[in-house]
């Protein structure tokens, strides 16, 4: 087959330049009334890194799922290396040379790297032969692409960055020459992200084609050759990366001009509102997560906590909000100590003046099967205004919800709609409206803009700064370093349960990178 010959030659011929690796023509897909992809055309050139950006719900993931065989398109044609195909399922996609690295890794934690790589492609009933073959192939891949991982290491002993490499190796081992990566840097430190980019560049130079889905414009600018922008299920356009800028891309994504920089004045810190003293938290299975952490947050300032996900931020938030009893230490709000007794004192902490926007709105902040108005009072249902005695005043609760819907511009403006039917950004607004519009002294907020559209990010950031300017204390935890730096007045960096250092938001990216890897930049 001519196709394969072209694919196997190291030097791409003229024909390869012309025939694109992936060509989508008029692809449409709808889920019930929601049209996720509308007449999408996308051409991905061979030997290139092609970025796809768009807000949440723009249809990026759906499009890639169609390409990877998870969904079937309602209409349109897919051409892989110039040949029209009907991709039936993911193993068919792999046969066509399309591999995918998911946002959440699909690895068996207690298997070795080698076992994970042959999983699903075992070949013989006896594993010895395929293991030996895989070991040889892995050595070759490591040599060709700089993808070094110990084949005998157990997955759970690896770092997140290494796990991601295993995922990439898995796809390459199955013969993928078009590699789709879905938000690959969400779980990586800046250094690990840089390493990943180097690997991707090398893969491209060795003849592979990379499709990178992300919402981080900085990454698009840093690594891609071409970028396609999606908005509300349509393809807005494809441009060469060197001809565009983050501002232009953001405008294409949202459809209007967006302020990427957060504008704020200098903070005027007042009294200490939140004091954390020698706090240690051990999780359910006895692993220490927060180790002797002390800091305070004053009225009128935003203190940010930076760090790679999983370094104790979640447990810190849970302890401060009264959801989880700490092992040691003390937390004071307005000088009053939180008394931990029983199974959770989150309601009492709320009454002390703390509002909490949790990291994960689906897991914690909302009951997605409830109607919007019910979530609008979650945690506050005991308030007098929602009814006297044991009874719930549905009328009062819905009126209160409507007030918040208007104030935070939540759409659609329907308190009776099931919460799951709101978009990610609007769901986050439901949580913010509930927590921010009340008599509070301190707001603790985790990942305020995770999975939120650029347009809504701007709004959420403004609200947080407005709260600070009203003299409230804000503790912000985010894994988005840019977000922490642009919003915070002071930044604490967390690593392995400890606060490594405090940095000014203006500190260099290198300093943050070192601190997030657990090294105190001051001692370097």
């Amino acid at each position: 087959m001519v196709e394969n010959q072209i694919r196997n030659t190291q030097q791409p011929s003229r024909a390869a330049e012309i025939v694109p690796a992936i060509d989508l023509k008029g692809v449409s897909k709808s889920f019930g009334p929601v049209q996720a992809n509308k007449d999408i055309n996308l051409t991905v050139k061979r030997n290139s890194i092609h970025g796809i950006v768009g807000e949440n719900g723009a249809g990026k993931s759906t499009l890639m799922s169609i390409l990877y065989g998870f969904y079937k398109a309602d209409a349109g044609d897919i051409f892989v290396h110039g040949k029209k195909v009907q991709i039936k399922d993911s193993s068919h996609a792999l046969d066509l040379g399309i591999g995918m690295v998911h946002q959440h890794f699909m690895l068996v934690e207690n298997f070795t790297v080698l076992e994970n790589i042959i999983l699903g492609a075992e070949g013989d009933p006896l594993l010895a032969a395929s293991k030996a073959a895989a070991r040889e192939e892995l050595a070759r891949l490591a040599k060709d692409y700089g993808l070094n991982v110990d084949p005998d290491a157990i997955i759970e002993d690896l770092s997140v960055g290494q796990e991601q490499r295993v995922e990439i190796l898995k796809a390459l081992y199955r013969g993928a020459d078009v590699l789709i990566l879905d938000e690959p840097t969400g779980v990586l430190t800046p250094t690990e992200a840089d390493q990943l980019f180097r690997i991707l560049e090398q893969l491209r130079d060795e003849g592979k084609t990379i499709i990178l889905i992300t919402h981080k414009l900085r990454e698009i600018m840093a690594i891609t050759d071409t970028v396609s922008v999606m908005r509300r299920g349509t393809m807005v356009g494809t441009v060469a990366t060197k001809d565009t800028s983050p501002d232009k891309l953001a405008e294409m994504m949202v459809g209007r001009h967006v302020l990427l920089k957060v504008e704020k004045t200098a903070a005027q810190p007042g009294e200490k509102v939140l004091e954390v003293d020698g706090l240690s938290v051990t999780d359910d299975i006895g692993v220490p997560r927060v180790k002797n952490v002390s800091f305070d947050v004053r009225a009128g300032e935003i203190v940010g906590i930076a760090g790679v996900a999983g370094n104790g931020q979640s447990q810190l938030l849970e302890a401060i909000s009264g959801m989880f009893n700490p092992l040691l230490g003390e937390i004071r709000i307005n000088g009053k100590k939180i008394k931990f007794d029983g199974d959770g004192v989150a309601d009492e902490v709320r009454r002390m003046g703390l509002a909490h926007v949790p990291e994960d709105r689906h897991k914690m902040g909302l009951v997605t099967t409830f109607e919007e108005w019910e979530n609008s009072m979650l945690g506050y249902d005991d308030d007098q205004k929602f009814g006297n005695g044991p009874f719930l005043s549905v009328k009062a609760a819905r009126e209160d919800a409507i007030k918040r819907i208007e104030m935070f511009d939540i759409r659609p403006q329907n308190p009776r709609l099931k919460t799951a039917n709101f978009s990610g950004g609007n769901q986050q607004k439901i949580v913010l409206a509930r927590e921010m519009d009340r008599d509070l002294d301190i707001l603790i907020v985790g990942q305020p803009t995770r999975g939120v559209d650029i347009g809504a990010i701007e709004f959420i950031h403004k609200q947080i700064i407005k709260l600070r300017d009203e003299g409230k204390a804000v503790l912000l935890v985010s894994v988005e370093l840019d977000e922490v730096r642009s919003l915070s007045d002071r930044v604490l960096v967390m690593f392995d349960g400890e606060i490594v250092t405090e940095l000014a938001p203006t500190a260099s990216e290198k300093e943050f990178g070192l601190a997030m890897a657990g090294l105190d930049p001051a001692q370097q």
């Binding site: 929601v34 009264g322 989150a346 309601d347 902490v349 897991k363 979650l378």
Partner: protein, 372 residues
């Protein structure tokens, strides 16, 4: 290929259960045909036996009342995220509370017996359910396992009590009969229509329980907390809802509701407590709750259906002796199988049907609304 379409609520809550019941009756009819009897005739006898006379209807409603209580019991626990399999044991132990109060008060007036027995039944039912609830909340002992175990404990305990402790001397493992003065009246005493049928005042208690559960779950703060815990335990923890107390309270309410059956069956009709009086109604309550989608409106309909199957089934065995009583149980079991265990069998098919019939312009319009 047409896309699957999320089902509208009427299709999900009315059409699908109706199709399940219909399928169960068709398969049951096939079983009747297999033994050489006329399935149409059998179904007619079944329907007439359940609804055709005041006598039949009285029995149907009496069974439906018991099933309403046990069905609501499962539903309340289910809304808090717990699968209470122990309605059988809770109703059984509640019988002890009910009969002790009744026997204590039966020389006063039936109104006192009614109130006393209800309080006694609810208290012991609540207690018997709260223990597994507490074990689940505090110790993490799985509620399905513990409630099943508690059914066995209840059975052993009650056998002991009825044979050794509150037994009526001379008779076999049962209490003495409630005195005339304390007997809760049957509806047949007021309405000739229900002559010879056991339906009684507890029917109205059933209606009150249905409304009460609706108010509890959707119109009180406690109900909001119960539902929050059931739908998303992490969100409940975030909201500061104490899982331990909500679980214990929800289980207690559940057990109290199951216990109400004792007043309907043992106190009002049998007028004494006999060994094994619950006769599986606690278990059928699970099917009732599931078929009724854990909502009072659905539960009342499901309870009437299962009550009708019970009554119509015994009529069938009586009128068509060639149909063995085991086959009647098979028909009942088929309804439970199709509307309980294989509840969502038709869902994928219906979703495709709805997808195919959905007109294109309508889809576009909906998409525009999304964007606006």
């Amino acid at each position: 290929m047409s896309a699957r379409q999320p089902l509208p609520s009427w299709a999900l809550n009315v059409l699908m259960p109706a199709m399940n019941v219909l399928l169960a009756l068709i398969v049951g009819g096939l079983a009747v045909a297999m033994i050489g009897e006329n399935p149409i005739q059998a179904m007619q006898v079944l329907a007439y036996g359940a609804f055709g006379s005041g006598y039949g209807l009285g029995f149907t409603l009496h069974y439906a009342t018991s099933l309403t209580f046990t069905g609501l019991a499962v539903a309340v626990a289910f809304h808090s995220g717990l699968f209470n399999i122990g309605g059988e044991g809770q109703a059984y132990v509640a019988g002890l509370g009910a009969i002790m109060m009744a026997l204590w008060l039966d020389h006063t007036h039936w109104v006192f017996v009614l109130v006393g027995a209800t309080v006694g039944a609810m208290t012991l039912g609540a207690l018997w359910a709260a223990i597994p609830g507490y074990l689940q909340a505090k110790r993490g002992s799985h509620i399905v396992i513990t409630t099943i175990m508690f059914n066995f404990i209840a059975s052993a305990l009650m056998s002991y009590m009825l044979a050794q402790v509150i037994t009526n001397p001379g008779s076999n493992a049962e209490t003495r009969t409630i005195a005339e003065t304390g007997r809760i009246p049957l509806l047949s005493e007021y309405f000739e229509f229900f002559k010879h049928s056991p339906v009684n005042i507890m029917l109205f208690f059933g209606v009150v329980a249905l409304i009460g559960v609706y108010i509890l779950l959707w119109r009180t703060k406690l109900g909001f907390k119960i539902r929050t815990l059931g739908q998303n335990p992490e969100a409940a923890r975030y909201a500061g809802i104490s899982a331990v107390s909500i679980i214990v309270i929800a289980m207690a309410i559940s057990g109290a509701l199951a216990g109400m059956m004792a007043v309907n069956e043992a106190v009002s009709v049998q007028k004494r407590l006999v060994v094994g009086y619950v006769q599986g109604f606690g278990f059928i309550g699970i099917a009732v709750a599931f078929m009724g989608r854990a909502h009072p409106v659905g539960i009342v309909l499901a309870a009437i259906l299962f009550g009708a199957l019970y009554q119509g089934g015994s009529e069938l065995a009586f009128v068509m002796p060639a149909v063995p009583s085991e086959l009647v149980v098979v028909i009942q079991a088929l309804v439970i199988l199709f509307s309980g265990a294989m509840d969502e069998m038709f869902k994928p098919v219906l979703e495709r049907v709805f997808g195919a019939f959905r007109s294109k312009p309508q889809a576009d319009k909906a998409a525009e609304i999304e964007e606006a």
